[in-house]
């Protein structure tokens, strides 16, 4: 049955079906941040050029700042808040804390999403593969080398937990 209310938009975020009132061409970013209170996803440029707004859509990193709501209907959106398991941060986020691999931290949610996207398909990446995967993320503070080391550490902890599990 066609939906008659043009302002009613639904989206599946972090496993929850959410209904919000906005225009269908509103960017996913604003729905996440303002309608759903998921402020870990950040506005950086609005053009998909800096990676601050990355989320996983059907498991793959995508820019939420220029993805309209109509494009994510029936898709599975995961934000940085939805990456952790049972209240613990994603291994990449934990490795970033452990390695003090951030300065201002504004870019770091997007970095964690990129890392999660990479580690989901490759849990033993080389340093060059990590850098290539993170090339969609900009960091202005110069924390890149620490971040790369943290992602490699996260990969190794993921492998260790898989081998022991």
């Amino acid at each position: 049955m066609p939906d008659t209310d043009p302002m009613r938009v639904t989206v599946l975020v972090n496993g929850q079906r959410e209904e919000v009132r906005t225009e269908r061409d509103t960017a996913l970013l604003y729905v996440l941040r303002n309608h759903l209170g998921l402020t870990g996803t950040r506005f950086g440029c609005g053009l998909g050029l800096c990676g601050a707004c990355l989320v996983l859509i059907d498991g793959r990193p995508a820019y939420s700042c220029d993805t309209p709501m109509w494009a994510v209907e029936d898709r599975d959106v995961t934000t940085v808040e939805g990456l952790g398991v049972s209240g613990r941060p994603h291994p990449a986020a934990q490795a970033i804390i452990d390695g003090q691999a951030a300065q201002c931290g504004y870019c770091i949610s997007g970095v964690v999403i990129s890392a999660a996207g990479l580690l989901a398909v490759n849990d033993d990446p080389s340093e060059d593969e990590v850098r290539a995967a993170l090339d969609r993320n900009l960091c202005r503070c110069g924390a890149q080398n620490r971040i790369v080391r943290a992602v490699l550490a996260a990969a190794s902890s993921l492998r260790a937990s898989r081998d022991s599990g």
Binding site: T22, E23, T26, A27, Y30, R33, N34, G37, T39, G40, R42, F43, G44, C45, G46, L47, L49, C50, A52, V80, E81, P89, A93, Q94, I96, I97, Q100, A102, Q103, C104, G105, Y106, C107, I108, S109, V112, D128, V130, R131, A132, L134, D135, N137, L138, C139, R140, C141, G142, A143, Q144, N145, R146, I147, V148
Partner: protein
């Protein structure tokens, strides 16, 4: 007990200005110490370092210290968080204030037990007597105890007794940022909050003639359109509506435009010919009567840097709330502003001035933003939010700048031309040195000039243009003149600054200010002189550097980078290495950098080796992080960055047109912190900027045999620098 000797510690300046101990710290019965600093977290980790200083002097676990974000009316006024001075200013004040607070609480315990203070010990806030009795700061917690001015009678700990200072305590703010929990000003969600967007003029000299506001106002969810002169903005119930309304207003506004900007392709010619105020910043002549050594040769070279953007990852943002006008009308309005400004007090003074309010009517609260690296548009966004909040009293309004406005309207680090000339003796050692600078000043911070230093104020009806940036005196670090005085033992030197009295593009403080281009020029020129004399760059510098701490960082970086044994064959054909050195501000941390570059189709920096002497280091991991980050950012400036513009406006307004270094382009970086030797702590956030640029330029010359004196070191500039 140290205090009983009546030996007074001179109060550090910040504490002398804000002497009430209770302004700096508060003991809470729940086992927490609240610490207030006037300095703010900019992503540099300052709150963690200050918490360490407080915990050290109080003898409490650092986890008990809760750092309170700066807010006007409550926090000590320490001016802006700038110039790598937070540890020197706020750290020094907290050290003395917390030592005194400890003594006061010990005194209270001693009084209660009727025993001498000297018999008591403190461990993690628990005070113990020799007979086994214990109490604690928390049990004794009483605000009245600290409601008194600092006396300087309690002696702070001696450095060898430090247990917390000097250790790598993890950053206090990172767990929130990774959880993630809302911590940025962008993440604030106040009840009833509205969303504002400002429609900036399409070009620098544009004035708003007319705007058709109806289509924007008619959008469902639009609240109001605000126009004041050429300041145009919209407020809406939802952010997506504010964005759409701003697009409509942009399309429906009529502007009168005129070209006001110089020719970017001939920028050095503009900088050296524009009206300027010329001043000799520093001069030193050989002692009278000394026979001047004969000059064997003279050399001269001219260097250029473009305008650079702070280019924060998070656009400038603020939220403001104006109280609904009470009976008193405008005079009774109260304005509350949440901002990532570097200085809540300077911003409050400027907002009050711009809005014709008293300072008491305005409260400014710091909330963290993205790293700013100097004076960016944070204060401008606060003014935007204040103007919109006053238009909708009773509802908070959040303003977020667009990426295009952030890159296109922030105050830039100024472009400059630097000419260096030297007479040298037969060995090539410098006899006399001339350093001449042309460019805009580096300070238009709020409160620094006669005109209001906030962008929106200049666009309002009757608003004055922001006056050309000022030059702070060299004793306070200078602006354009920062690091222009050579740190070497030259018998004579002269430093001249031509501060432009016109300002086509607004400029202000960007990390290291003039230190970036001055060190690039000086250290490039040192290599040119060394090459002309056929001498090794490291030996050439050491031969003319007396300061043992400066020599030590150069020797350390040469050792660690394998300077003496380095050969390009080990890495690649067109590889080179180079060194750069400076003592930041001639008074702060010492830094030497060795860069290895490879130049095939473009310049790639492979490795940076850095040695720093920052005296006593509060948090070694934090300091290394700052030095490494500064060096990587400086690499980005040196290789890629340049604000682009046509005669009307700035055209580099996306990450495509203003590219910065990406993960795959970042060099390996090694940082060595030299032992502090009980020297006082010096800031490290800016020390690597100039030396990194110079090291890269020198390495490029080593690789290609081409001296590129114009930044950034792109293929285009290399081609332009090739001999005909």
């Amino acid at each position: 007990m140290a205090g009983s000797r009546e030996a007074r510690t001179a109060l550090p300046p910040s504490l002398a200005t804000n002497p009430c101990l209770g302004d700096w710290l508060r003991v809470l019965p729940g086992g927490v110490v609240e610490v207030r600093s006037g300095k703010v977290e900019l992503g540099q980790g300052v709150l963690t370092a200050l918490a360490q200083v407080a915990a050290e002097e109080l003898d409490v676990d650092v986890a008990r210290v809760r750092m309170i974000a700066a807010v006007t009316g409550i926090s000590p006024d320490e001016g802006p968080t700038a110039g790598s001075l937070s540890i020197q200013h706020s750290g020094a004040a907290l050290r003395v204030a917390c030592a005194e607070a400890r003594a006061i609480y010990l005194g209270a315990a001693a009084g209660r037990w009727d025993m001498p203070v000297g018999a008591l010990t403190v461990q993690d806030g628990t005070i113990a007597a020799p007979d086994g009795r214990t109490t604690s700061y928390w049990e004794l917690a009483d605000d009245r105890l600290l409601d008194r001015p600092a006396t300087g009678l309690a002696e702070p700990k001696a450095v060898p007794d430090y247990r917390i200072v000097g250790t790598s305590v993890p950053r206090v703010d990172l767990p929130d940022k990774l959880a993630p929990r809302p911590r940025f000003v962008h993440d604030m969600a106040l009840d009833g909050m509205l969303y504002g967007r400002v429609i900036r003029p399409p070009s620098r000299g544009a004035t708003l003639l007319d705007v058709r506001a109806e289509p924007a106002r008619a959008l469902p969810g639009a609240v109001t359109v605000v126009r004041d002169g050429s300041f145009l903005a919209v407020v809406a119930e939802r952010e997506e509506v504010a964005l759409r309304a701003a697009d409509l207003l942009r399309a429906d506004a009529k502007w009168q435009e005129e070209p006001t900007l110089p020719d970017e392709d001939d920028l050095p010619a503009f900088l050296t010919s524009a009206p300027a105020e010329t001043r000799v910043l520093a001069e030193s002549a050989p002692p009278a009567g000394a026979a001047p050594a004969p000059a064997a040769r003279s050399h001269e070279a001219t260097y250029h840097r473009p305008y650079l953007a702070h280019a924060a990852m998070g656009p400038s943002t603020a939220t403001a709330l104006a109280s609904t006008a009470p009976a008193g009308g405008e005079a009774g309005v109260r304005l509350e502003v949440w901002t990532h400004s570097q200085g809540v007090y300077p911003l409050r003074r400027e907002l009050a001035r711009a809005l014709k309010l008293t300072e008491d009517q305005v409260r400014v609260r710091h909330v963290e933003g993205a790293g700013c690296y100097g004076h960016n548009a944070a204060d401008d966004a606060a003014m935007d939010a204040a103007l919109l909040a006053l238009a909708v009293p009773g509802r908070p309004v959040q303003v977020v700048w667009s990426r295009a406005d952030e890159l296109g309207w922030e105050p830039y680090g100024p472009a400059a031309v630097v000419r260096v000339a030297a007479d040298v003796d037969a060995r090539g050692d410098v006899l006399s040195w001339q350093h001449e600078i042309w460019g805009n000043g580096h300070v238009t911070r709020p409160g620094f000039g006669r005109s209001v230093g906030l962008l929106a104020a200049s666009h309002r009806d009757g608003g004055e243009p922001i006056e050309p940036a000022a030059e702070p005196p060299l004793e306070r670090g200078g602006g354009a003149g920062r690091n222009a005085v050579p740190g070497y033992t030259f018998p004579a030197y002269r430093v001249v600054n031509h501060r432009l009295s016109v300002m086509p593009l607004r400029t202000s403080s960007l990390r290291s200010l003039g230190g970036f281009v001055n060190v690039f020029a000086i250290e490039s020129f040192m290599d040119e002189l060394a090459a002309a004399a056929g001498r090794d760059p490291v030996e050439y510098r050491l031969a003319q550097l007396a300061d043992p701490r400066g020599r030590a960082v150069i020797e350390a970086v040469a050792r660690r980078s394998g300077w003496a044994d380095w050969s390009p064959a080990a890495s690649s054909r067109s590889a080179g290495h180079g060194i750069g050195y400076a003592r930041y501000k001639n008074s702060s941390a010492y830094c030497a950098v060795v860069a290895e570059v490879e130049a095939v189709t473009e310049v790639r920096v492979r490795r940076l080796t850095i040695a720093v002497d920052a005296g006593l280091v509060i948090n070694p991991d934090g300091a290394e992080n700052q030095v490494e980050g500064g060096a990587i950012q400086a690499t980005s400036w040196t290789l890629k960055e340049r604000v682009r513009f046509d005669r009307l406006t700035v055209t580099s307004d996306t990450w495509d047109s203003y590219p910065i270094l990406r993960f795959s382009e970042v060099p390996a970086v090694e940082v060595e912190l030299l032992p502090g030797h009980e020297n006082p702590p010096l800031g490290v956030g800016e020390t690597a900027q100039g030396p990194t640029a110079a090291a890269i330029g020198n390495a490029l010359c080593d690789a290609l045999g081409i001296r590129v004196r114009t930044l950034p070191l792109t293929e285009q500039q290399i081609l332009a620098a090739m001999p005909d």
